[in-house]
Amino acid sequence: MSQVKHASTNSVPIVEEKEIKKQKWSNLMAGLLYLLPSLALFGLFLFYPMIRTMYLSFFRTDTQGVPLRFVGLENFSYLLTSPNFLQSVKSTMLFVLYTVPLSVILALFLALIANEKLKGIGIFRTMFSSTMGMSVAASSVIWMFMYNPAIGVMNKLVNLFGLADVQWLLDPKFALLSVALSTIWMNIGFTFLILLGGLQNIDEHLYENAQIAGVSYWYQLRKITVPMLSPTLFFIVTVSFINAFQTFGQIDILTKGGPIDSTNVIVYSIYKDAFINYNVGSASAQAVLLFFCILIVTVLQFKLGERKVHYQ
């Protein structure tokens, strides 16, 4: 036995190292091979354009987006002082503020009542999640009709409460709210599905124990449901934020950014600058700013929000 040992202690390190290196190398290659499609596509359709966008944000471009002249930070400095862009930022922020908390709260409410064990609850769940199957285009058209000042149902509703007609989409005071309202409706389906799934993952026994202890519904909600749901809530809030920042379709169909730019959120402004005003430089600069906005909000979310999240 000792002979074998001697023989091997001499030769092992070299062979071993080689073998290990070979193994590692082949693993790396295999890994990259499997990742290749993703990497290639991300590279071409995400990283390259992102970098390209950053690059273009320092240029004046021609109508086809070909850079003409390096202007440094001029695009940014103009944007940051331009009342229009500031209005866009304000609209975006307001829009996010209107839609995210309300979607989540309403969806949570729906998820809570749909999480009870009742007869026929499946039908309600299906109905509550239905807007996930609705496209933005279809939903927006429906809402557009509902907002129609003359024949739409929204004004009928308002009249029912004895109030005067509202120019939902034409009055800058209401336009953003109206778009937000329809967006909340559109978001609820997905948010609801996610939250319901989260609720169903909570251990039933936690509630049973609370029942035996005799704590109230609200106490359970506050002390069990919300903390236990917090990872799900965190996820859905993050996703909702990102989505809210990227809202486009409903704005294009309902208001086209108007009236007086009150619904001209950054994404829409990017679209207009890039494709209507042929100002790709400015559009790129806005895209870069939007990216940082989302990044900051997401990072903040992770920094502040995740502390309150209870992972099991």
Partner: protein, 270 residues
């Protein structure tokens, strides 16, 4: 559960359902109304007419658009499933240097707003000569960080021993992926599939940009087109188109709702 509690719950459920469903039902109703009924602002058609549907299909080649939407959605679905599952497989079953960093890179792409990349992407697609082709509508979406993430979480639940058992039996990595990992993760694949299908079906801005002809236009754009052409004058027709557009996805959603709900949370949170 006490009767009172039950009744309150049902009341809340019904009221919420009415509010949630109202716009959809309303659209259905309008799609069956005659023009004058619409203008009177009625909620319920006096006699159901299918004229609007006939008109909708005449005005815009809806069938063709539906077909396009199906082709695009199915392709993106298949593409995303394949590309994402390959990537997820690498992240779970192959250990190599820099794997975690790469994974983080993948996840971070979720933060890049699609719009921020829209202009260069458009130019790329144009250069590739993919405007007005299915390629332009599908390929850019094949890689999906969310899908990779979801599947990675699922693959991680596959017992390591299954992989090891195949290693001992001398089964190749790809065969293991294809014959074991994919079939075992059917549920998650279906979840991701439904999700992909729905989101692709509902895609709006990109098809708006990259299609100019009826050849590959999707139904959402058809809807938009219908709306710019016919709005105010023929709401009934527009709503008929809306109904035609939403029915496939609603059906899919109703069928896949349970699975989707489970699969989505499973992948999303843990």
């Amino acid at each position: 559960m006490s009767m009172i509690r039950k009744s309150i719950l049902y009341l809340l459920l019904v009221v919420s359902a009415v509010i949630m469903m109202f716009p959809i039902v309303y659209a259905f109703m309008i799609s069956f109304m005659s023009g004058s009924e619409v203008l009177q602002g009625r909620l319920w058609p006096e006699n159901f007419t299918f004229d609007n549907y006939k008109a909708a299909f005449e005005k815009v080649p809806l069938f063709h658009y539906l077909f396009n939407s199906f082709v695009v959605s199915i392709s993106v679905m298949a593409g995303q499933l394949l590309v994402s599952s390959l990537a997820a497989f690498a992240f779970v079953f192959i250990s190599f240097k820099g794997r975690d960093a790469l994974f983080f890179l993948f996840i971070s792409t979720m933060m890049i707003p699609w719009e921020a990349t829209m202009v260069p992407n458009f130019l790329t697609v144009q250069k590739l000569d993919w405007l007005n082709t299915y390629l332009g509508l599908t390929i850019p979406f094949f890689a999906l960080a969310f899908g990779t993430f979801l599947l990675r979480q699922q693959f991680k639940t596959i017992p390591k021993e299954l992989y090891e058992a195949s290693q001992i039996a001398g089964i190749s990595r790809f065969r293991f992926f294809w014959n074991v990992v994919l079939p075992v993760s059917k549920t998650s694949l279906v979840t991701l599939g439904v999700y992909s299908f729905l989101t692709t079906w509902n895609m709006y801005l990109w098809p708006l940009l990259v299609t100019n002809t009826e050849n590959v236009r999707t139904v959402q754009i058809g809807l938009k087109q219908m709306q710019t052409q016919e709005i105010s004058t023929e709401w009934g027709v527009v709503m008929a188109a809306v109904v035609v557009v939403i029915i496939p996805t609603l059906l899919l959603l109703f069928l896949g709702q349970k699975r989707l709900q489970k699969g989505l949370t499973q992948g999303a949170i843990k």
